[in-house]
Symmetry: C2
Subunit: 140 residues, 2 copies
Amino acid sequence: MKRAIEFLRRNILSSEIPVAAIVVKDGQVISAACNRKEAENDVTSHAEILAIREAAQKLGRWRLEDCEIYVTLEPCPMCAWAILQSRLKTVYFGSYDLKYGAFGSVIDLRNFSDTKLKVYGGICEKECDEILKEFFARLR
Amino acid sequence: MKRAIEFLRRNILSSEIPVAAIVVKDGQVISAACNRKEAENDVTSHAEILAIREAAQKLGRWRLEDCEIYVTLEPCPMCAWAILQSRLKTVYFGSYDLKYGAFGSVIDLRNFSDTKLKVYGGICEKECDEILKEFFARLR
């Protein structure tokens, strides 16, 4: 998670909600992305989606059962379902999203899937919360 | 919906679950896509996601509040949330998806969003069901 936070701090764009995701295989980072919805005019350009797509392209397969994803904010339903579909082994997330979090905070989409995804929330939570707070404070 | 079905029939790939989506603005089709998950090794390459991304690129904005989407199968949670995020005005879908449908069949993700999306299911249902049935019969 420290590497996801580092990546996020290096790539923060003032117009985007600051979220980063990295996909890891055998301890190696194989993809990393930040939220780019505004930059790309694309509601699907969330960090998780971009990182999953990049990892799949690099590995030449959509099944990522030997990979794990680290994300600084609890995934929304779109990203949670993409994670479930990609067969990722484990999700580690930082901040809880009490408005749209789809791994337990608002809904848990694992209940609608046959996969055995493991999910751990609140990893480096304080640091991830801090980055989001700074962003929303600047907006006001 | 007839145009989505026509597009689907013209673009059917033997390896993909046959689903098509089109985005329409003022009665004009501005984007059309089929499911391309296997072809692109990308779990996010569902018809709806591809059609939404293409429409947003063409219009130069991610807000599609003046557009509607037609899709031959009820969207999964990933696509349903992408549709909600893109502010599309209306969804028309064909077949109901009793396993993963996220606009009422298994779950209704509108309950977790502030947007006022209108959803109409079962449009040309028989024809959409037929195409899916043919695909799954060929698989066996």
